[in-house]
Symmetry: D2
Subunit: 487 residues, 4 copies
C-alpha cells in the first residue's frame, strides 16, 4: 500500500473566475478573489487589467499565492478594471499559452475573455474558423469564443459576444473585459455558478461568494441562468439574450466543488452537506461505535450522520498540514507498509471499534481502498463506508475533470461488488432523491430534473457535438495534436 | 482588523530529532521521520549520514519536504546510519551555520550531534571554551556540547559525551552519531520527549511516535529521563550516567506541541486533549447554542467540551488549505474590513447563535481578538471563550520559543481583564489541577510537581545560570553580537 | 566619467536564422548554429522542430547557451527538421510572445516562420488583417507574414508564401518549415545575408558561414537575392518568384555586423576590415607613435592601418573577460574617476605617446568620449581617432537597431565639431568610395549603388510605407500600444 | 577532435586578495577590486566588513559579478573596513565553508583572515591542533592560521599573528582584519604579490595593481617580502618580524598569472611578455609567413615575436565572446569534425601559409594538439609553435593549481618528442635565462635564483613538510576525507 493523496481520486472543478469594475485596487482584489477560489483550479492563474490606456496581463503556472501575492506582479497590473481566472486542466495540455484570460486586439478595440465551463462544440467551431484563416494559439475552448467575437460582423462588443455565444453549446460562466465595460454571462441552463457582489460601491463578479468574504465585499445575488450583466461607468445593466429555459445547476457543486462557507443558489454549502449526511444516516444506517470522516471533504456529512444517528464523531484520520512534494520511498520491498505522508490513522480512536467512515464520493476507488486498509491496520473491528452522493457512473463534459468512464468504479460494478473491492463490511450511498431533498427539493423530477446530474444519471442537458461515442471520450484539442511549445 | 494567522500567536516547540542505525535507507527514513515531526520546527532541517567511509551532511532552510523529498539530495546522503534535526529559531539567529546536526572531526574520529531542548548555562560554558582557543561557528547551544566533547581528555566517545553532559544544565533530548554508533540521551528530568522504535530489525530514535507511524515502524518505548541508549552493530545498550531524579516532563507537549496522533509518555495526545475539553466543560461551563473550535488546535478540546456539555459541535471557522505568502493588501483605508486569507467565518453556523469558542491557549491575545471580532461580524450573539490550558504567565527556557514575559497577556492581566480585552462575553481556563487530571494524575503535587509547568507556574526545575533577571530575557548568543554572515 | 560598455554605442543587427532539413540531430545543429550567430541577436532565441508527427517549439529569453545547450531542452525538440532564430529587439517590445519562430496551425497543416530583416509596410498590412478578424499575438512583423499565409486562398504552401511576400516591402531573409519542407527566401534586393551549406548530406541555411564552421559543415553558396530555395526529401529546388532587380547588400555587414571569420557575399570579413584600415591609413594618415584599437571591433582595421602606415600596433586598452552585471558604484562624489569595469588603459603602452585610436564607427559618441578620456588619463600625448566607416548619419529600417536620427552624432555635426566633442586631436573617417573599394568595387556607383548604405547616405532602396517623417521614427507596433503581458 | 577551451590546460593562480581601511564604501571598493582580480580565482568569492559594532560576511560560489555587483548583497556589508578574497580550488574541495575570508570570535575580539598562497606544513599543524580539541570546519590551510592565532597565548593580535606565521612554511600574501586594524603580510620570500595603494586618503592592499586601476586608486608600492604592514586610524606602520632572506618572487606571474595591465614588482606585465616574445624570436626563430597568437594569453608574446622577426601579425584564431555552458554534441560518429564553440580558425588568414603559432605555455598538451589540428584543417602549410616560457616540468606547491607531475607533457618528453605529439613542424621554448633577461635580470643566478621557478627547475625555496614523494602529490586535506556537506 503506497501513500494516498485523499484528494487525488476526486472529480475536479476546472475553473474559477473573478472580475471587478471601477476600483483602484482592481488587480489586488482580483488576486484575493482568485485565492479564495483556489479550490476551483490549482494549476495556473491569470489576471488582466485595463488602466485607461493599456491592457496588462500576467499569467502564471502554479497557485495564485505563488505569484499574485507579490507587489512586483500586482504593480504590473494597474487600472480600475480587472478579470482573473484559476485553471485546472488535464495533463498534456498544460502550457502558459492556455492560461486565461485570453486577449485579442480587435479593430473595435481590445477584449479579454475568461470562462468557467466547457463548450461541447468547440472543435467543430474551431475547424470552421481555421479554414477561414484564423490562427489559434491555444488548445482552450475559450479561444474559440474569442475568434468568434473577432470575426463577427457586428460593430458593438455586446452584439459580437451575443452572436458568438449563440453559436456555442455547453456550459459557461463567462467574463469579458473591454476598455469600457465588464461583462458577465451565464449559459442558458446556468450549469456553473456566477455571483454578483459589491464592495466600496464597485460591482464584482465571482464563481462563489467566498471570494467576496475574503475582502469583506457584500454578496448581492446570483447572476441568473442565461443572463448577461454589463457593468460600466453608468452602473449595471441586465440583458437576457437567450430564449428562457429551465435551469440545470450542477448538483455536484453542493457535494464537493464549492467551498463549505459559500452560499450557492441561495443555499449554505455546509448546511447542504450536513443535510446529505442526515439523509445518509436515514437511508443507509449502520450499527457502529463511532463516525469518522475522511478528511476534509467528508467532515460535514459525517457530522450530519453523527447528529442523526446519535453516534459519537471522532477524527480517526489525521491529515498532515505539511503536504507538498512526494518523497522518494524506501526501497525496502519486504514489507507492505505504506508511507503515511499526508494522513495518519489515530489508533486511539479506531482500535477495537466499529467505524462508520464517511466520504463525499468514490471515483476510481483506489484511495478508498488505501484508507480502509489504514483504518483496519489501526485496529478497526468493522468498517461501514457511507458516501454523501449517489454512485458516479458517468463523465462530465461541462468543465469538470473526470476520468474516462471505464475507470469509474461505479460504472462497472454494483454497490455490493464495490464494497468487496474496497474492503468494507458495508457500503451505502445516498439516493438521487435524497440528494435532491438535502438541497431543498421534494426529490428529483425525473421528467424535468431540477439540476444537472449527468455524472450520476448519464442524462446531459445539452447536445454533445464534439463528443464521439466510447468510454475513453475526451474533449478534442486540434492544436495539441501537432504542436508542443514550452512558454 | 487585518488578517490573522491562527498559529502566529502560539508557543513554538523549537526542535524535532530523528535517528536510525543499520538500515540501507537511513537517510530516506530520516527524511520521512523529520517530515512527520515538521510541526516541531519549520524553519530549517538537516540530515547527516555515515557510509562506512565518509560522513555526509545536508542542511537547508525551509521545510523538510522542500528539499529532502528529492532524490538528488537524498543521494548525497549514503550510508546505513543517519541522524536528522528540524529547527525553529528566534529571528536574527537564522542562518545555515546554525542548522543541526553539528559535525566535528575529532582526533578520535568524527562525531555529529543534534538535540531538542535548550541549555541554560551554554553562554558561561562557551566563554570558558573561547578563552582556551575554541572557535565557535554558530550561535547554537548544541555547538557548546560539541566543543566540550572535542576538548575532553577522555579517549572513548561515550565518556566524552558523559563528561560533556555533566557540565551542562537545562533540557535536552540529544542524538549523537559516530562511525560506530548512534547515541540517544534524555536529560535527567526528561523535559523533552524521546522515543525508541524498531523497523526492519533496526532501531530508531525520534521525538514523537508519529515519526514511526509514517514509515510503519513499531513503537518500542519512551527513552527514560536520564537514560543514555547506545545503538551499534551489537544491538542496544542502556546506560544511566546521571543520579536518579523525579521526572518533570513538559505538560505543554499534551496541550499543543505534540501531534494529536502521537503517544506521549504512555498517553494518547488526542485523548488528553479531549479530556481537557471535558474538564473545561465541567470547570467553566457556558450557557450557549453551539461549540466552535478555533482550527486546528482547538478541535479535540472542543469535541470534548461538546461531549461533556451536550452542545452541538460545528465548524464555524473554515481554514483555507492554500496558505502561504502574505498578499499585498488593498490600500483602501476607508473600511476596517480585514482580508480573510487564512480562515473565514461560516455565517450559516454562527449567525444569531451563542458560541462557545474553544482554543488551546492565549499568548499575546492578538489573534484571539481578531477571531472573536470575525465571529461577531458573522452574527454571533454571544461569544464564550474557553481555553484548554491554564493562563500562560511565564517564559520557557527549555527549547520552546515564547515571547518576552511582558508580552504575555496573562502575565499582566486578570482573567476578567483579558475577557474585556479580547472582547468575549465570558472567558474560562482549565485549572492546573484539571490539566494534570486530564493526563492521568490525581491533580498537581505542589511539593513535587509531576511535570514541568514553568510557563503556567513560574517554577523551573533547573537552575537558570545564563538567565539574568528582567522581563525581556532571552538566551545569550555571543557570536551574533558581532558577526553576521550569509551562508 | 562613468564606466563604458564598448559595444553599448553601436548599431545592432537584430536577427540571425538557421535551418536544417533531414538530419537526426536537427535541433542540436540548430542550437550550435544559433550560438555561432549569437552576435546577431543576444536577447532571445527560439528553435522549432518537426518529428514527423508533432511540431515542437522552445523559445527563451537570454543567450542561446543559457538554455539550448542543455539536454533537457534539446530533448524536447525531436525530429529531423528544425529552424531557429536569434533576436535582438528594441526595449519595450521584449516578450516571449515576440520570440521567433512563429507557428500557425493552418487548414493545410502547420507552418513555422522566422526571418532576419524588417518589413516597412507591416503596420498597414496588419491593420487590414485585423479588420477581417485576424488576432495578433505579438508585435513582430513576422507574424504579419504568417497571417498573410494563413488567410491566403491558395492551397499549396509555396503559393501561399509567394502571395504573402508579394505584399510585403522591406528586407528579409526568411526561413519557413512545414511538415514536408524547409523553405528559404531572400528579398529581391538581398539586403540581409543568407547562405546555403551541407553537412552529412543534409542541406542547411544560415545567416553567416561561421554557423557552418562551428559544426564542420561545408559552405555551398550564398542564396541569391530574390531566390526561394525549397528543400525537401527530393533535394533542393530553386525558385525565382520576383522580378529581377539589382542587389543592394547591406555594406555595414562588412563594417561591424558579420563575424570576422565569416565569408560574406564571396568576401572574407577580416580581409575587408583590414583593407578598410589600409584605405583609412591612405585617406587620413596620422603623425603618431603607435596604433591602438578600440577592442574588439577596431582590431582588424587597426592592424590594416598599422600595416599601411608602418606604425607599431599595440593593445593600449585591455578588455576584461569578466563582464556582466553592472556593479553599484562608490558614492564618493569628490572624485571624477570612473570605474573601469569592462576595460582598462594600459599605461605602459600609452604614456607619453601619440596614439592613433581605431574604431569601426561612432554612433552617439558617448563611448568614444570616455575612451579618449581614459587614453589621455593614461598619459597619451596626442589622440588621433580613425573610423573604419563613413559617418553614420541616418537610421536603418531593415532589421538593424539604430537610435533615433537626432541622437546620431554625425547627423548633427561636422567632422571637425565631432573631433572637438569627442576630445581628439584629429578625427578621420574612411570615405564611402574607400569603403566600396575595400570590399572589391571600384568605388560607389552613385546612379545605381552596389550596396544598401542608407545609414551613411540616407538613400533607401525600398519605399518606407509605415515610416512617417520626423527624427524620432520607429517601427509602429500596434499591439504594444494597448497590451502588456508577462509570459 | 572535440571542442577546446583554450584556458582549460593552463596552470591556475588560486587566489586574489583585496583590503581597504577607513573608506565609507569599503565593501563596494572591495567588490570592484575583486572583480579586477577575477582572473586569480573564478570559483568563489567572499567579502567581510566591520562597521564598528558587528562583523558582516558574504561568501558565494561563482564570479564576483554574479553576486557582489548587487546592492542587496553590498548593503549587508556595512562599515569602513573590509577584506575580500577570490578563490580557485581543486575539485572535490569546493564548498562554501572553504570560501575565505575566515572569521573567528576570539576572547580578544573577532578576527578575519584571507590569504593568497599555500602552506606546505598545514596538515602537520592541523593534526596537532585537533589533538588539543580545535574543531576545523574547512579543508583550507587558512583555517590552520586562524586556529594558531586563536590558541596563541599572546594578548595582542599582532603578536598572535606573528607567533602563528613563525610556525607556518610556504607562500602567503595574507590579509587580516580586526575591529581596529587591517594587517597585510607577505611571506619572507615574497613568492606571491601584494601591493599597497591609496584612494581618497585611505590605504588599500591588493594582489595586483589592476585592482587599483578599476577604481582610480593610486599605486604606492609593493609590500616587501617578509614585511607586515599594519593600517589603523593612525596610519600605516611597517614591521619586519622575520629574519631577512633573498626574495624569490614567482616568475610565472609574468608569464601568465598577472593581468597584462598590472605592474608587478616594478615591471609592466605587457612589456615583460612582449620582451619574452622578442627573446623567443631571437632564441628559436622560424622561417614562416605570419605570426598567429593562441588567444588571448599568447597575444603579447606573438606581437613581440612579430616585431623582432619582421613577420606580419594576424589573428588566425577567433575567440567567441559567448562562451559558457558546454553544448550537447551531435551524436553523429561518422565524422571526426569537432564542434568549434569557443574559437574558430580564420581560413582567410591561415590557408596556404607557414604559421608561427605563439602560446604562453604547454601543460598537458591536449589543447595544443587541438589548436594545431584546427590550424592545419584551415589550410596552414607549416606550423611552428613557439612557447613564451621554459618547459613546465614540475608542480607548484605555493598556491597554484597544477596537474600531477606525471600529467605534465614536459615532465615525460623531450622537446622533439613533444613536437611530434603536438603535431607541429617545429617547437621552440624560451630558455630560463631568456625568461630572466626579459624581466630585467642578466640571466638566472643558479646559485641564488632571483625568482621562484620551481615549476621549470624543480628547485623549491621552502621545505615541503606535508608533501610526500611521488608523481601524484597533492596537498592533504584531512577533513574532506571523512566529511561532505552541502552548504
Amino acid at each position: 500500500m503506497s501513500d494516498a493523496d485523499l484528494t487525488a481520486d476526486k472529480f475536479r472543478e476546472e475553473c474559477g473566475v473573478f472580475g471587478v469594475f471601477g476600483h483602484p485596487d482592481a488587480a489586488k482584489l482580483t488576486a484575493l478573489g482568485l485565492h479564495a477560489l483556489q479550490h476551483r483550479g490549482q494549476e495556473a492563474a491569470g489576471i488582466l487589467s485595463y488602466d485607461g490606456e493599456h491592457f496588462h496581463a500576467e499569467r502564471r503556472m502554479g497557485l495564485v499565492g505563488d505569484h499574485f501575492s507579490r507587489e512586483s506582479v500586482i504593480n504590473r497590473l494597474p487600472g480600475k478594471m480587472a478579470i482573473g481566472h484559476n485553471r485546472y486542466s488535464t495533463s498534456g495540455e498544460t502550457a502558459l499559452r492556455n492560461v486565461q484570460p485570453f486577449f485579442a486586439d480587435l479593430s473595435i478595440g481590445g477584449i479579454a475573455v475568461a470562462h468557467n465551463g466547457n463548450l461541447t462544440n468547440a472543435t467543430s467551431l474551431r475547424d470552421r474558423l481555421v479554414d477561414k484563416g484564423s490562427i489559434f494559439h491555444s488548445t482552450s475552448d475559450t479561444e474559440t469564443i474569442v475568434h468568434l467575437v473577432a470575426t463577427s460582423g457586428f460593430t458593438s462588443v455586446n452584439d459580437r459576444i451575443i452572436e458568438a455565444l449563440h453559436q456555442v453549446e455547453g456550459a459557461y460562466s463567462l467574463l469579458a473585459l473591454t476598455k469600457k465595460k465588464l461583462v458577465g454571462v451565464r449559459d442558458p441552463l446556468g450549469v456553473r455558478p456566477l455571483v454578483l457582489g459589491i464592495y466600496d460601491g464597485c460591482y464584482m463578479l465571482a464563481s462563489e461568494t467566498c471570494a467576496f468574504d475574503i475582502i469583506g465585499a457584500q454578496f448581492v445575488r446570483d447572476v441568473e441562468p442565461g443572463e448577461m450583466v454589463v457593468i460600466n461607468e453608468d452602473g449595471i445593466t441586465s440583458l437576457h439574450p437567450f430564449p428562457k429555459q429551465r435551469s440545470r445547476f450542477c448538483v455536484f457543486e453542493y457535494v464537493y466543488f464549492a467551498r463549505p462557507d459559500s452560499m450557492v443558489e441561495g443555499f449554505s454549502v455546509t448546511d447542504a452537506r450536513e443535510a446529505i449526511g442526515r439523509e445518509l444516516a436515514r437511508e443507509v444506517p449502520a450499527d457502529a461505535d463511532v463516525v469518522v470522516p475522511v478528511p476534509d471533504s467528508g467532515v460535514p456529512a459525517a457530522l450530519g450522520f453523527a447528529q442523526e444517528s446519535g453516534l459519537p464523531f471522532k477524527f480517526g484520520i489525521i491529515r498532515s498540514h505539511y503536504v507538498g512534494r512526494t518523497f522518494i520511498q524506501p526501497t525496502d520491498h519486504t514489507r507492505q507498509a505504506g508511507v503515511r505522508m499526508k494522513h495518519n490513522a489515530n489508533r486511539a480512536v479506531l482500535d477495537g471499534k466499529r467505524i462508520v467512515l464517511v466520504d463525499d464520493s468514490i471515483v476510481r476507488g483506489t484511495t478508498s481502498m488505501k484508507i480502509v486498509q489504514m483504518v483496519r491496520d489501526a485496529g478497526a473491528k468493522e468498517v461501514h463506508m457511507r458516501i454523501a452522493s449517489p454512485p458516479t457512473k458517468d463523465c462530465c463534459y461541462y468543465g469538470v475533470n473526470t476520468p474516462e468512464r471505464k475507470k469509474l468504479l461505479a460504472a462497472r460494478h454494483s454497490v455490493d461488488e464495490m464494497a468487496k473491492i474496497i474492503g468494507v463490511d458495508s457500503l451505502g450511498y445516498v439516493s438521487l432523491d435524497g440528494l435532491y431533498r438535502a438541497v431543498g427539493k421534494d426529490g428529483r423530477n425525473n421528467a424535468q430534473p431540477q439540476f444537472c446530474d449527468g455524472c450520476f444519471s448519464g442524462e446531459y442537458p445539452t447536445s454533445l457535438t464534439d463528443i464521439s461515442g466510447g468510454d475513453d471520450r475526451r474533449q478534442l484539442s486540434l492544436l495539441s495534436e501537432q504542436y508542443n511549445a514550452a512558454e
